[in-house]
Symmetry: C2
């Protein structure tokens, strides 16, 4: 069996100008980055303002398990399948972070016969968006410490600087550091830390901005610190948002690449799915909707985190109305949710499946609350038994939702025809009428209560003293009327990663509440979130190499 990179290397890439042409983009609309990547000018949105938008379909999943679900692979495969049945489709995906490529798993861009290419570029520097974010972030950080050094007229409290530096690298030694040592010429000493670039608020802002001016304004609105009088200090007080916007002038433009079957794919922005909302940029999605009749996009983690944030944060800010949500599952993963051990996953077992399917059931129930269509996609494995497949089909019928088996890993677009057809049916029926789950004008606590009750299935919320105080502070500075972004374990519907399936009778504990005032959401932390990964004992970097002919090994 071929590996992902072997499949990718044996594929025939079209020049990106041809891909662009397929969706009506001329030479003046794009900027080439080599032969197989380009950026799309934002003028295209203006030019096509009057034209009808394509239909938006979100791909999400059950709570992730070690068994794997293949959400990105289904997203790519589905886009390919829609072309195969004659629908002009554009895929919209997140950009991978460079740093983690050198960590445990190497790069990623779908899998098997459903990948986006050129993989090596997408996983390395791509078109430089991550680097632009790193620079803009660190310019603001340098400006903060420089301001303090140069007299601190804003009276910034160096103990209360929330804005951190970033690097796109897995580097645990930078998580907790002391800066400004070495005497007067190096500034004032304070404790600080680096996050990985995708955790930067600027990444979240890039993904929620509607144009460069909105991006600039939002960056200006970042709450960077409090001053010694307990008043908020914003990025705009340091007057660097213009320079930051300048650094982001190209990063704001969506990137176009292609899949193994030459389906257009826009890859742009990739915020964390816990402390941020975990979806590609609004600009990418809007661009895709102007260029395709169908747009297939993806959100991070399972539906309780990824889809909830896609729907309640991204769709709210982008004024997007998705028509249909695909929930990806595998029989193995559902059995894992039902208590199967890792060794038993490949043995047919309807009992585990019937217990674990509650996770899928709850995710279906949740999506329906948003008034959009739902389709279940079962990503098929060779070890799945007919009986297990039958069980799922019956289950979905009882739930009144469509289900399709997909084999997009093995067969590319041809493995997703059934799924594609079912989605087209739902979209063409036009029964969806998307609405958000809550109003942003509710109190912070009410918003958290609503998501906990309605989506997680919990009995209520416990706020730590710390969280209570932080909520008061946010209310005091008037930043509480924004959507919430809950950081919670992705492995469970609850805030306890060991509670699989569909847990009940639990309360969610909120430990910390912070405001991402530039991005425009309130981050609610239910546990520790690692914003700077580390490298494993033998990093993926150690097996990577490039030879004289430019052939790359070890990247995937």
């Amino acid at each position: 069996m071929k590996t992902d990179i072997e499949i990718a290397q044996s594929s025939k890439m079209e020049p990106i100008v041809n891909i662009a042409e397929k969706i009506g983009l001329g030479e003046g609309d794009i900027e080439l980055y080599g032969k197989y990547k380009c950026k799309i000018s934002l003028d295209v949105l203006e030019k096509k303002k009057a034209e009808k938008d394509g239909k938006l379909v979100l791909v999400t999943a059950i709570n992730p398990t070690p068994a794997g679900e293949g959400k990105s692979t289904v997203t790519v495969g589905l886009g390919q399948a829609l072309w195969n049945i004659g629908k002009k489709t554009v895929i919209a995906l997140r950009e991978p972070s460079l740093g983690p490529v050198f960590g445990i798993k190497g790069g990623a861009a779908g899998g098997g016969h459903s990948q986006v290419i050129p993989m090596e570029d997408i996983n390395l520097h791509f078109t430089g968006d991550m680097h632009a974010i790193t620079c803009a972030n660190n310019l603001l950080s340098a400006a903060i410490d420089n301001h303090i050094h140069q007299g601190n007229s804003l009276k910034i409290d160096s103990r209360r600087i929330m804005f951190k530096r970033v690097l796109d690298m897995n580097d645990r030694a930078l998580r907790d550091i002391v800066v400004g040592m070495g005497g007067k010429i190096n500034g004032f000493v304070r404790q600080d830390g680096f996050m990985i670039t995708v955790a930067s608020e600027i990444m979240a802002i890039l993904c929620l901005a509607t144009d460069l001016m909105d991006l600039k304004n939002r960056m200006g609105n970042i709450l960077v610190a409090y001053n010694l009088d307990n008043e908020p200090v914003y990025c705009r007080d340091l007057d660097v948002q213009g320079a930051m916007a300048l650094l982001m002038k190209d990063a704001v433009k969506p990137n176009l690449v292609q899949t193994l079957e030459n389906t257009p794919a826009i890859i742009h922005g990739g915020p964390f799915a816990n402390i941020a909302h975990g979806c590609n940029s609004i600009l990418a999605t809007k661009m895709a909707m102007k260029l395709g009749d169908y747009v297939i996009t993806e959100a991070g983690f399972g539906a309780d985190l990824g889809a909830e944030k896609f729907l309640d944060i991204k769709c709210r800010y982008g004024d997007l109305k998705p028509e249909c949500v695909v929930i990806v599952a595998t029989i193995r993963a559902l059995k894992h949710h039902g208590g199967s051990s890792r060794d038993e996953l490949t043995t047919p077992n309807v009992e585990y499946l019937s217990k674990g399917i509650e996770n899928l059931e709850k995710q279906i129930e949740n999506i329906k609350k948003y008034n959009v269509g739902v389709v279940v996609a079962i990503n098929k494995f060779i070890t799945d038994s007919d009986e297990e497949v039958k069980f799922i089909e019956d289950f979905c019928m009882k739930q009144g939702v469509e289900v399709a088996l997909t084999e997009v890993w093995e067969k590319g677009g041809n493995g997703g025809i059934e799924l594609a057809k079912k989605i087209v049916d739902i979209v063409e029926k036009g029964d969806s009428d998307f609405k958000c789950l809550y109003s942003e004008n509710e109190t912070i606590k009410d918003k958290i209560e609503i998501v906990t009750r309605e989506i997680y299935g919990g009995d209520g919320v416990v706020f730590t003293k710390n969280a209570e105080k932080q909520i008061e502070e946010i209310e005091k500075i008037g930043l509480d009327k924004m959507p919430i972004c809950i950081a919670k374990t992705q492995y469970s519907l609850s805030d306890n990663p060991t509670l699989l399936g569909k847990p009940s009778g639990f309360k969610v504990t909120v430990r910390e509440v912070k405001v991402s005032s530039g991005a425009g959401f309130i981050v609610v932390l239910t546990g520790d979130v690692m914003t700077m990964p580390g490298l494993p004992k033998v990093p993926a970097a150690n097996r990577m190499d490039i030879n004289k002919e430019g052939t790359i090994v070890g990247l995937f």
Copy 2:
């Protein structure tokens, strides 16, 4: 009078494919980065292996003064002038560092009617080379701390890690830091620091490498630390040089842009001119020599640092034989060297000039030691008197060197015709027979003595105890047979910045000797070198902005 950016914005840029075509590059030889930038495939060097090389001309200067000399402007203007007299010429320049753009002076890329464009791209992310270096550098840093955290089988002494992290930002707070705080999961605590990206040894390596494999090998050779048994630990011991090379796979390719007069300019690599050798990459220069009949290139600071390192380090490793060196001076700067105060600079004064011209005299004498032709270029200002000009012309005649007045700032290529013609005369005569000043097989101390005596005009060298010890250590590990790279003030021929003109009777004090074993030179420090700049009270960033239409303000 128009500002630099106004001149640049009113110029007519040619699509870069047209510029490439002018020098025989087809579509298959280049990779576009937008319409006005491209990278040149290294295959071109292989393809044109049998073809004759163009003639190499270096532009350097007297010791820099606050009055300004305009070395880059002359380099660009001279390239334009050579086209005007029918010579197919390619300019080879260093890439600017992004970080300092936000500091005091904003961006830079020549001046007046002798600039390279697109300025804003060249000064911001350009084609991502700096970012690739940042990543490769920080991957190695993360690997070092990770190795220690994961058991430290190499027994790295955390007190003796010489390899530092980098960021392309002026950020004084990062000069001296403590990393690894916060307990066991964050690794071991140690003192560390960030440098600016251009100070990374990887930048020096990029600029001295002859291909991607050489780049990889050199990166593997970086001395990163000593272990607890006092033995050297190299990058290759951590086995990440392959991944680092992967990150550098595009950065290794030279970038092509154009001047205001559509002259081809290759801009690639930009190492520090003190702790490194301060010239663009060997690959860029070699590429330019395959594409042009004349190649005009530049070195950092004055001739005592920039030209010496160009000739003794770059030409040695690149097997380059320059034909001619242009020494740029202004009458104002020479008067400054002669003791003129800033206020007096614009008043004609032959006395100051006759004293200050000793600096030029010494630089001419130095260049002649390398057996190459010399031309003096006087960058003309409106305040220069006829008498002063006459004085310089007489002086040069006595010295037996050609001199030309240039007005390339005001008139572009047409302001450099005389200079261009004089260079062509020298090159066509073909009298040059370049040789390095010293053999790399001399002892470290002898090499330092030779440069001090022959180039700086000093009486000898004083080594601190610390330096003595370091030299012994380098000899012990057998890395002493490499060229030296002296870090010294650029303002004086001596190691004392206040000694202008042509100081004599001084000794140079060597405080520290380090090895850049990947780059392949021994760094000799005669004083403190700042490897991470800071931002001023009002950073240039504060006046920068970009508006809705994409118009940039404040960048220059």
